[in-house]
Homo-oligomer: 420 residues x 2
């Protein structure tokens, strides 16, 4: 298919999603929640259909030598489908994200002005191989009153089509089918049609590898909110409780290495480096973490290999940690500002002033005192489901939940006011 044909098809679907969104915006939250419950049931009841489709994708994956981690993400079973259904029910049970009038005030001329939460409009989601993303995203978008247009990767096309069809059919019983659009075109051009459709789509959410997300951010004409790099730091201050510091650092590095809120760099205050480095080196070595450190750290611990400038900027997502001994608090904050990705950074300290100063000076989505960076997560924060974690500062920052899928408008009640 040529680009123009693909453009027309994608834009046509985005227009339908917008029409569907306008219907949605007039429905009660009860109906939207009922639709989500019905979808949960349908997904579970028609699991065989999904598993059959998934088999096709898996066979294709084997034939095309798809990498093992991708195969694993692609593969569905009854349990994973049960999780999908649960996910729909959980999102249905979340507090209503739209319609809330957060403030309302009266002006001297009698105008009453209110600020009300509204859906963003149409959300375009571009993702790679995990079919459960289809369900998660549809759930969050419908709950927040948005139309959604989905474009999954070619590896999962059969699974995603099957899931999308089931969701659409359930939605149809509530006259909501239009609000869910699935782009079945696996040609990469379809991605470009989506990120160019700024009249029809209000927000692009990319899901997948960092490389993929960066590419979408760079090329999209439409605002993008995406799960970004996490180069997270823990600064062990001179006044740290070293036992607590060890527990937190080990947790942040090793509890789950392949996630964005894992620690990648440990900063150690010079005054406690002689005491702390041998302890942490011993704990992390037992867990098979490779340590790369600055000259000073290597003069204290022989088992640390040399670090490069590139290491400070690297999200390892692996059992590797870079270590720097810093002269003082300021050097630690400067390092975080210079090399960090403004995701999650922590200080371990018993000093009140250092704690408060760190919270104030470090400009990251989540800034911690005496806790592991691994808590940066919608569920852990108590915010419910999340679309991802944003390290950008506009629109939404940190865990992006339902509120990130909303905007607001001003509503004004008058009784004939004119401006003089």
């Amino acid at each position: 298919m040529n680009k123009q044909t693909i453009d027309e098809m994608v834009i046509g679907k985005a227009r339908l999603a917008r029409a569907g969104m306008r219907k949605l915006s007039n429905l009660s939250s009860e109906i939207r929640n009922n639709a989500l419950e019905t979808m949960a049931e349908a997904i579970w009841e028609q699991r065989e259909q999904i598993l059959t489709a998934n088999q096709i994708d898996l066979e294709n994956g084997e034939r095309t030598d798809l990498a093992q981690p991708l195969m694993k993400r692609l593969e569905l079973d009854q349990q994973k489908i049960e999780v999908m259904a649960d996910n729909l029910r959980q999102v249905a049970a979340l507090p209503e994200p739209i319609g809330e009038v957060s403030r309302m005030w009266e002006r001297p001329n009698g105008l009453r002005i209110g600020v009300v939460r509204v859906p963003l409009g149409v959300v375009g989601v571009i993702y790679e191989s995990r079919p459960n993303v289809t369900v998660e995203v549809v759930a969050l978008c419908l709950k927040s009153g948005n139309g959604v247009i989905l474009r999954g990767g070619s590896e999962a096309i059969a699974s995603n089509s099957a899931i999308a069809e089931i969701l659409q059919k359930s939605a149809a019983t509530f006259e909501l089918a239009e609000a869910i659009q699935f782009v079945e075109i696996t040609d990469r051009k379809a991605v470009h049609s989506m990120i160019g459709a700024h009249d029809q789509i209000d927000l692009i959410v990319p899901r997948g590898s960092q490389e993929f997300i960066r590419y979408i951010m760079k090329t999209s004409d439409i605002p993008v909110v995406g799960h970004a790099d996490g180069i997270c730091h823990i600064f062990v201050d001179q006044d740290a409780d070293l036992e607590m510091a060890t527990e937190i650092a080990v947790n942040a590095k090793t509890q789950y290495v392949a996630v964005c809120n894992a620690m990648e760099t440990l900063l150690v205050h010079r005054k406690i480096a002689d005491d702390f480095l041998p302890i942490i080196q011993s704990s992390l070595s037992q867990l098979e973490v490779e340590l790369r450190g600055c000259e000073l750290s290597r003069s204290i611990c022989a088992d640390i290999s040399p670090v490069t400038e590139e290491d400070w900027r690297t999200e390892y997502l692996d059992k590797i940690l870079s270590i720097r001994v810093v002269d003082d608090f300021e050097q630690a904050v400067d390092h975080i500002e210079r090399y960090g990705s403004h995701h999650s950074d922590a200080i371990v300290t018993d000093n009140y002033a250092s704690a408060q100063k760190f919270l104030k000076m470090v400009d990251s989505a989540a800034v911690y005192v005496n806790a592991s960076t691994r808590f940066t997560d919608g569920y852990e924060f108590g915010l419910g489901a999340e679309v991802g974690i944003s390290t950008q500062k506009l629109h939404c920052r940190g865990p992006m939940g339902l509120e990130g899928l909303t905007s607001y408008k001003y509503i004004i009640y008058g009784d004939g006011q004119i401006r003089t």
Copy 2:
């Protein structure tokens, strides 16, 4: 100068602004407010210096045949400088926009999580000929703790340089000079250096003509929030008080035609068109407004000229009004959705259900019942000074005041929590 040299200069200035911002973020609001007061004094005391520089710009403008409206915007006098000084004082007196912890909660594991307002970082402002923008923008950015990098148009370069120098000197007494950076390069390439500096600048605010703003929005690598088109509608419902409808429509169209919240299209319910059109036609003709209408409106009022499809999409900013008779409420809402710019739209009605439905269904930054669209304005809404009015849905919508120049971060107080 070649592009590389300009890039280096602009990026150098943006880096300084960021360093200045980091200092600012550690200062009390008292000091920031004192700096604004000191700037107000300095602007007034050194008015002769500003007027002398302005004279140079005016002479250049005459020599280069600058259009009269631009000359008028460029020209300064004592009174305009007094307004600049007042502006600085007013912004100083506004409530503190940063540092507020809007929510704080405790998790079952004892973590205390708070959401705190923080500055965006470095704001890049690109504007055309009005020198007072230099003052307004510096005031709003300093108040909200942001570094700012300004690039004014070549027509006002002498005036802007003089103003920027005075502001920087005042800021220097508070060690804040770095936070205010002024790009003196009038080469258009400097604009491109700014909108490409995504590592140094967090937000671009363009001020000037619609054409200019659209150009910046299209080409910037950095998020842009800009004052956008206003194609505003008033829908006179079948249950409208026709006297109120006339007052509101006349006000929204004629009180100030060259602004984004003026009405451009009047939608009239078919059932009252025979009564209402002659009244509004008579009122608006007296005020020399040209009426362009649909077939049906022309069959009722002979003095209405034919409207084209293009008219519905046009922001006249002039004494012209397009008129459409609609069959019903739905057709009115569809028209607004299809042709409007989602800025400000109003219904005039005495019907409770129609009022509520309009507020719900119309997806614009400001949706009115029984009031003129002319109220969409930071001051009129009681929000204080504004950077502009946003018709986008992400980050900030409607009048963009100090809050639009802020972001938030999560601060987390722990006592050793790790994730299990």
